[in-house]
Structure formats: structure tokens, C-alpha cells
């Protein structure tokens, strides 16, 4: 499958934090041809390994999280409207008149209604609406809603992926399915090489709730090296300079205390040597990625963070440049080969 199609395929799978089963199933299918084993753990992580065949081989962990932001139904109002809480961080201004998909079987469509302006003052209309005052409208009576939608039902934004211009793609859940797709493509690329170390894929859960899946996943794998693959912010007209990376300028290689200096350096060297487009992302403290918890797993893991620049992160219209994703695939596949050579 082409990278673009693979990303759209994965982004279309509804799997908010804690409800990753559907993503687990789809990723297992897609990853199976390129790995020796696939398994899971109590947190629902997908752990796969491609072995090099050497005894006591070193382990490289590639991580991307499969969960996406979403919502969870907390109350059925007497009018039939559904009150909800967020799963992960969502800008409340993104919610009014928003279409969602409730993850019942079969899924139920809903719309987050908004109070019309006619009954509001112009001042009210300049203010964002507190998410606690918003409801999902599933077009159901309270009685019917209670039958069909148990409390604790999760929901995700509705909408399909779309190509933007020549190189860009737009979809919900690019954070972090784009990097899940990247890992599948890395494993595909590695399948035609003989490896010098075991390559583990940790397709982790609950990152959006605080990097929870990666904690147990990294512990179980006990890797020597890790690369956390996630999205980072790309520049938009309303973002400040210095807060963002450039879209279309290649893989963002993290530099800072969360990253092992030698490993980041190796990535930069590889990029230079192989002419892979990259940019340095300086990250001063908590990177907000699974790299943060992987680095301090067990006795410590040599960790690198490679990111895909994405605009409008945590919105239903996340946007990325496919060329940046291609650069990451090349870069990290080369790293896996290089680390293997060194053994």
C-alpha cells in the first residue's frame, strides 16, 4: 500500500485512548508480513518483533501510539442529549457544530449542537463555549439513547482523510497514526535486509492520557535503544515563531535532555550522509512524547525522538506533508541498519 493510502487507512480506524482494539486489529494485519511475532499486554499495547537471529542481540524499540483524542459519554440528559468528557486535550473552540461518531456497534452519528446567535449577545459570541456546556445530539429520545448508548461509550470526530494540494494530507488522527504507518513502512523496508539487532515495534495505547501504554510496553521489551515517533507542531499563521517546525522541510530530529546525544547525533549524521531532509527540533524538557517515559524505563534507554510536523494538532483536520513522512521512514530504517552494523 502507498504511504498516503496506508495513513488514511489507519486514520479511519476509530480508536480513542482506552478504546484501541480496532486499531490493534488493523495494525496487526498490516504489520504481520514484516515481523516474527505480535502480542499484547494488560494495557492493550501492540508489541511486535523482527528478530535478527543472533543470540543475545541488542534491541531497538520503535514506538508510535495508536490512540487518538476523543470523547466519552458521561450522562444522558433527560432530553436525550449526551453530556461528554474529553479523552485527551481538545480545544473547546473546535467543538461547536462538530460531527462525531459514537463507538457503539454499529456506530451512531452525533452532532455537538451549539446555541444559535439569535439568543446571544454579541459579547457572548466572542467567547468560546465551555466544553462542559456542550452536548452531543444523536437525534434520540432519552429512553432510546439509554438503550443504545451506555455511559462510558467513547466517540471520535467524524470525517475522512483528504489530499491537500500536491503533497499534503489532511485527516483526523494523524497524531499518531501517521507514525504508526511510518513504522509499518520502516519494517517493510527492513524486511529485505539482514538485521544486526532485534527490532521491536511498540504500537502503544493511552498516550493522549499521559503516555500510559508506553510505560508498560517499554518495560516489557527492555530495549537498548528506542526511537519514539510522534507528531510535532508545524508553523501556522497564528503560531509564534520558534514554537514550531516547518512543514515540508523533513524529519524533525529532537535534541535536548530527553534524547540521548549520541543517538540524536547519529540520526543527524545519517541524514547528512544519505541526503535525507531533516530539521533540528530543540526540546528543552518534557517532550510530551512517549520518549519521555521510555528514556527512564528500567535502567534507562538510549532514546531518540523523531517527529512529523503536523498543523492543527488534536483537531479533526490535522495536516501533514507526505514528503516529511517519507524522510522519516528512510532515516529511521537507516538508523536500524546502522545500529545493527555496530554490533
Amino acid at each position: 500500500m502507498q504511504l498516503k493510502d496506508l495513513i488514511f487507512d489507519l486514520c479511519a480506524v476509530p480508536a480513542p485512548s482506552g478504546f484501541e482494539e480496532r486499531a490493534y486489529a488493523r495494525v496487526s494485519e498490516l504489520l504481520a508480513p514484516y515481523v516474527d511475532e505480535i502480542g499484547t499486554d494488560a494495557m492493550g499495547n501492540l508489541i511486535a518483533v523482527k528478530r535478527c537471529g543472533k543470540p543475545n542481540a541488542k534491541k531497538l524499540l520503535l514506538d508510535a501510539h495508536m490512540d487518538q483524542i476523543g470523547m466519552i459519554v458521561t450522562e444522558i440528559h433527560k432530553s436525550g442529549f449526551l453530556r461528554f468528557a474529553n479523552l485527551g486535550g481538545i480545544d473547546p473552540r473546535m467543538l461547536p457544530a462538530r460531527e462525531v461518531k459514537l463507538l457503539t456497534e454499529p456506530p451512531i452519528r452525533g452532532i455537538i449542537d451549539t446555541m444559535p446567535p439569535h439568543a446571544l449577545s454579541s459579547e457572548d459570541m466572542d467567547k468560546s463555549i465551555d466544553a462542559k456546556k456542550l452536548f452531543i445530539d444523536a437525534g434520540l429520545s432519552a429512553e432510546r439513547a439509554k438503550e443504545l448508548i451506555p455511559l462510558g461509550t467513547a466517540a471520535v470526530f467524524a470525517g475522512e482523510g483528504e489530499c491537500f494540494g500536491e503533497h499534503q494530507i489532511c485527516s483526523m488522527a494523524l497524531d499518531d497514526r501517521s507514525c504508526v504507518a511510518i513504522i509499518i513502512k520502516i519494517m517493510e523496508a527492513l524486511s529485505s535486509h539482514s538485521l544486526g539487532l532485534d527490532v521491536y515495534c511498540l504500537i502503544s495505547t493511552q498516550e493522549e492520557l499521559g503516555m500510559r501504554g508506553a510505560v508498560t510496553g517499554a518495560y516489557a521489551i527492555a530495549p537498548d535503544y528506542a526511537v519514539a515517533l510522534d507528531v510535532t507542531h508545524a508553523a501556522t499563521p497564528d503560531s509564534k515563531k520558534g514554537e514550531t517546525m516547518d512543514m515540508g522541510k523533513g524529519a524533525a530530529i529532537g535534541v535536548g535532555p530527553n534524547m540521548n546525544r549520541a543517538l540524536s547525533g547519529l540520526l543527524l549524521d545519517i541524514a547528512k550522509e544519505k541526503s535525507i531532509p531533516c530539521q533540528v527540533e530543540v526540546m528543552s524538557g518534557n517532550t510530551g512524547t512517549n520518549g519521555w517515559v521510555i528514556q527512564v524505563s528500567r535502567e534507562g534507554v538510549e532514546t531518540a525522538i523523531v517527529s512529523l510536523p503536523v498543523k492543527y494538532m488534536h483537531s479533526p483536520v490535522e495536516t501533514a506533508d507526505i514528503r516529511d513522512a517519507e524522510a522519516i521512514i528512510k532515516l529511521v530504517a537507516e538508523l536500524a541498519l546502522k545500529l545493527g552494523e555496530e554490533e
Binding site: 451549539t114 439568543a119 470525517g159 491537500f164 497564528d238 503560531s239 510530551g288 483536520v317
Partner: protein, 340 residues
């Protein structure tokens, strides 16, 4: 009528750019019309003979235009700046998809990632001047090659039924009225009628003004969508009207004090024929009726409206049972006017 409505909602027709909608309607009504004309503003006027010639000239009216955006500028880095066509609530456009122009170039109304938003920023909705459309163009040149200034944009056009008899679409205001008029045109009418599919309602009922001057009707029936605020936590007096409570027959809105004679006639007709109806519980909104009523020497005017949640947004909602009765109730009213 439901299938016609769905097709109509897919079409792009923001104020001043109603061509796609007009072309479709024209094609649909041509076989049933006795006369059609398009005026200089783009209004489509269709006349159809009925069983008899009426004593009073009757006009039905629905507007073809929807709210949307118009491209006003292109940034150096390829982002489009825009203004709204019609009254769009800024709160509902953030992070929404739009399609620009005839070629439907996809774009989004962007907003920086939530991670980069501070507590103060989060409380306010960005001003329209701060908003932008991202079409994935890397430069001004690339964007200019795709989108000319003055081009229009419409919201995401997915249309579907959901829940217990609801439909979601953009542009339900007022494709619902257009669909009802098409249905009437496809049937035998009690008497000769003129149907005005108007333009530019959303920017100040401008199409209807010239249509009324041309047709000089004596009775006008405006078929519309109207705002419903029947949400949880909204006090009873502020809901305006409710989905599922039937077609809305207003006695007054901000533009019009409707004909009291027609109001009592049509509400009686609804009762006699077991058509569920409600009136507006708040003086809000306005329709083409305002300019039609005060055109020429004055016109007896009434409106029949479908209650809509999230009106003027990409995700308007109607209850099918509320608007399905619109053509029938209009027909009953025409018959009554004939007898007067």
C-alpha cells in the same frame, strides 16, 4: 421531497453564487413549468398553471443561497483570508473543512494546535480577520493559481439521516423551502402560481426585493428554515422552537409582522388536517417576507418554516417529520386563498 432536499444540500450556492443550485432546480422544474425566467440578479422565477386562474396573484418563495465565505486575500505563504457571506457564527467555523470555488479545492479553517494556546486565548473566539483557510498551498503563487480573489467557499457537504428521523446537512436553510417548492411544482396545483427561487437572502433579502417588484403578488407564502435553540439547559422561553414539534408558523419575527388573516387561516388548516405545528416563542430571525410584504402596495404574507438546529453552520439538523408537511400545508393554504 427528502431525496430532492439531500441533492440540493450537496450543491454549492453561497449568496451571489447560486448558479449550481439554480441550474439544478431549473432542470428539475422545466418539464412541469409553463414559464421560467432568470432575472439580472439570478433569481429563478417559475410559473405554473393550475386548475383555475386565481382571483389573487399568489407567489411562493424560497431562497437558493446559503451562508458561506468569500476569499478576500492571499498571504505570502499561501493561506487564504476571507469574509463571511451571510451571518455566520464565528464559533462554528473553527477547524471546519471548506471547499473553494467551482473546482471544489479542499481547505480547512485552521487554528493553531491546542498545545500552543494559552488560557486567555482559549476563552476567546478568534476574530474573523485572524482566521485563514489552508488549502495546502506552499506559496502565494501556488494559491493564486488555484483560487482567484472573490471566489466563494462552502462548508463540508456531507448529508445523512441519523437518530430517530433527523437529517444533517449544510444549507438546510433554505434548500428545505426549495425542495418543498419543487415538490409543489411537480404536482397539480389548485390555481396558477408563481414560484420565486431567490438569491442573496442571507446578505439582506436582496433577491426577493426585485422579484416582488417584478411579480407584484397579492399573496405571498415564504417557505423557510428557522432557528431552533431546543438544547438542554436553555430556558423554555429561549428555545424559539423545537425539532419534532411540527412545522413553524410564525406570527412575527424581526423582519415581519405576518398577515394575521393568513396566520389564523393556516393554523386552522393545520389543526383541521392534523398537521403538527408550532409558532415561534421568541421574536428572532427574518425572512424574504420582510421585503415582499412591503413591496409595491403591500402584500399579504405568511411564512412556513422548518425548525433547524445549528442553522448557518456546516452541521444543521432538521427533523424530517417537521418539514415533510410543508408542501401539503402550502397547498391547503392556496386552496383557502382561492375561496376567499
Amino acid at each position: 421531497m427528502l431525496e430532492t432536499l439531500k441533492t440540493l444540500c450537496y450543491l454549492s450556492g453561497p449568496s451571489g453564487y447560486e448558479d449550481e443550485v439554480r441550474d439544478y432546480i431549473l432542470e428539475r422544474v422545466m418539464p412541469h413549468a409553463d414559464e421560467v425566467m432568470t432575472d439580472s440578479m439570478g433569481n429563478l422565477i417559475v410559473t405554473k398553471k393550475g386548475r383555475v386562474a386565481p382571483t389573487k396573484k399568489i407567489m411562493l418563495c424560497a431562497h437558493m443561497d446559503e451562508v458561506g465565505i468569500i476569499i478576500t486575500g492571499i498571504d505570502d505563504d499561501g493561506y487564504l483570508r476571507f469574509d463571511f457571506l451571510g451571518g455566520v457564527d464565528r464559533r462554528v467555523v473553527i477547524g471546519k473543512r471548506v471547499y473553494i470555488g467551482k473546482n471544489r479545492i479542499p481547505g480547512v479553517i485552521g487554528i493553531k494546535a491546542y498545545h500552543l494556546v494559552d488560557k486567555e486565548e482559549e476563552k476567546n473566539v478568534p476574530k474573523r480577520e485572524e482566521m485563514y483557510v489552508d488549502i495546502g498551498a506552499a506559496s502565494k503563487d501556488e494559491a493564486e493559481g488555484l483560487v482567484p480573489l472573490g471566489d466563494y467557499g462552502v462548508f463540508d457537504d456531507s448529508v445523512y439521516e441519523f437518530g430517530e428521523g433527523f437529517i444533517k446537512a449544510k444549507a438546510l436553510d433554505d434548500r428545505v423551502g426549495c425542495a418543498a417548492m419543487i415538490k409543489l411544482l411537480e404536482s397539480e396545483l389548485p390555481c396558477d402560481c408563481t414560484f420565486a427561487f431567490t438569491v442573496q437572502e442571507e446578505i439582506g433579502t436582496r433577491g426577493a426585493k426585485v422579484v416582488a417588484n417584478r411579480i407584484c403578488p397579492e399573496v405571498a407564502i415564504v417557505l423557510e428554515g428557522t432557528t431552533a435553540a431546543d438544547l438542554p439547559d436553555v430556558p423554555e422561553g429561549k428555545t424559539i422552537c423545537k425539532l419534532g414539534e411540527g412545522i413553524v408558523i410564525p406570527f412575527m419575527d424581526r423582519g415581519t409582522l405576518y398577515s394575521r388573516r393568513l396566520y389564523s387561516q393556516v393554523t386552522e388548516l393545520a389543526d383541521m388536517n392534523n398537521i403538527k405545528w408550532q409558532t415561534k416563542h421568541m421574536i428572532a430571525g427574518g425572512t424574504d417576507a420582510s421585503v415582499i410584504q412591503r413591496s409595491g402596495i403591500g402584500v399579504d404574507t405568511i411564512a412556513l418554516s422548518a425548525p433547524l438546529r445549528n442553522i448557518h453552520s456546516p452541521a444543521s439538523i432538521a427533523k424530517i417529520s417537521d418539514f415533510e408537511v410543508m408542501p401539503e400545508l402550502a397547498r391547503l393554504l392556496i386552496e383557502t386563498v382561492l375561496k376567499d
